[in-house]
């Protein structure tokens, strides 16, 4: 089975803890939803584990639109992970 490559982008303290602002990752086939991704990423290292310790607070956008954690990743080209927004 081919693995789908997706661009992941990180903001604010998620970016700082992971230590990257973006990366391209080939996701294994069992990572089908946003929730799967948030559970799988911490296995990549301590920074990811620290950033995603409380996955419920992490907000996600797929191709620059807000989605909930049940959203499927199929067809996504850019997945963004970030804390709740504090602009304004």
């Amino acid at each position: 089975m081919t693995e789908a490559a997706v661009k992941l982008v990180y903001f604010a303290w998620v970016r700082e803890r992971i230590g990257l602002s973006e990366e391209e990752i080939a996701l294994p086939p069992e990572v089908a939803t946003v929730r799967d991704l948030l559970a799988w990423l911490p296995g990549r290292g301590d920074g990811y584990a620290a950033a995603l310790r409380h996955p419920d607070v992490i907000r996600v956008a797929i191709d620059r639109e807000h989605v909930d954690h049940g959203q499927r990743l199929a067809g996504a080209s850019e997945v963004a992970l970030f804390p709740p927004m504090t602009g304004g």
């Binding site: 604010a12 504090t86 602009g87 304004g88």
Partner: protein, 152 residues
């Protein structure tokens, strides 16, 4: 047809009077202009600056989406939203919303709706820089902001 909102995400400062003038110049149908400016507070002298991070592309698209909802819901003659990014010192401008309408209620409500959703939906984050040189943290999102957005 609803007015097409103007949305800008920029590092540069903005001029409130200039934005108001652009919405009212040469027209006789505007009876009310409501403006909201969000400024950087010094937090009793402890804050040296706020650093505003945003998601380029999504920030503008998301505010435009919210602004279009406001323009469909209230009879606005014009709507402007400007949000700055980068380092902003106390007293500096962060955000501006200008809503113009024939009557005041639509202008008040349109501006208020836009701000409530901008705060909870637009991808911006604030990091504090403190005057004592210690590392400031990221500003926490407030439940009150979600409640404010929920009332609409």
């Amino acid at each position: 047809m609803p007015a097409e909102p103007v949305v800008r995400i920029q590092a540069e400062d903005f001029d409130l009077a200039e934005e108001v003038a652009k919405l009212t110049a040469g027209r006789g149908d505007v009876g009310a202009v409501v403006t909201f400016s969000g400024l950087c507070r010094d937090e009793a002298g402890t804050l040296a600056a706020l650093e505003l991070e945003h998601y380029p592309g999504m920030a503008e698209a998301e505010i435009l989406r919210i602004a279009r909802q406001a323009a469909e819901r209230w009879p606005l003659t014009g709507l402007v939203a400007i949000h700055r990014h980068g380092k902003i010192e106390p007293g500096g401008n962060i955000v501006l919303v200008v809503a113009a309408s024939a009557h005041r209620q639509a202008a008040f409500e349109g501006a208020s709706f836009l701000m409530d959703f901008l705060k909870t939906r637009a991808p911006f984050w604030k990091k504090e820089h403190r005057t004592d040189g210690t590392a400031g943290g990221w500003v926490d999102a407030k439940d009150a902001d979600d409640r404010a957005a929920g009332r609409w």
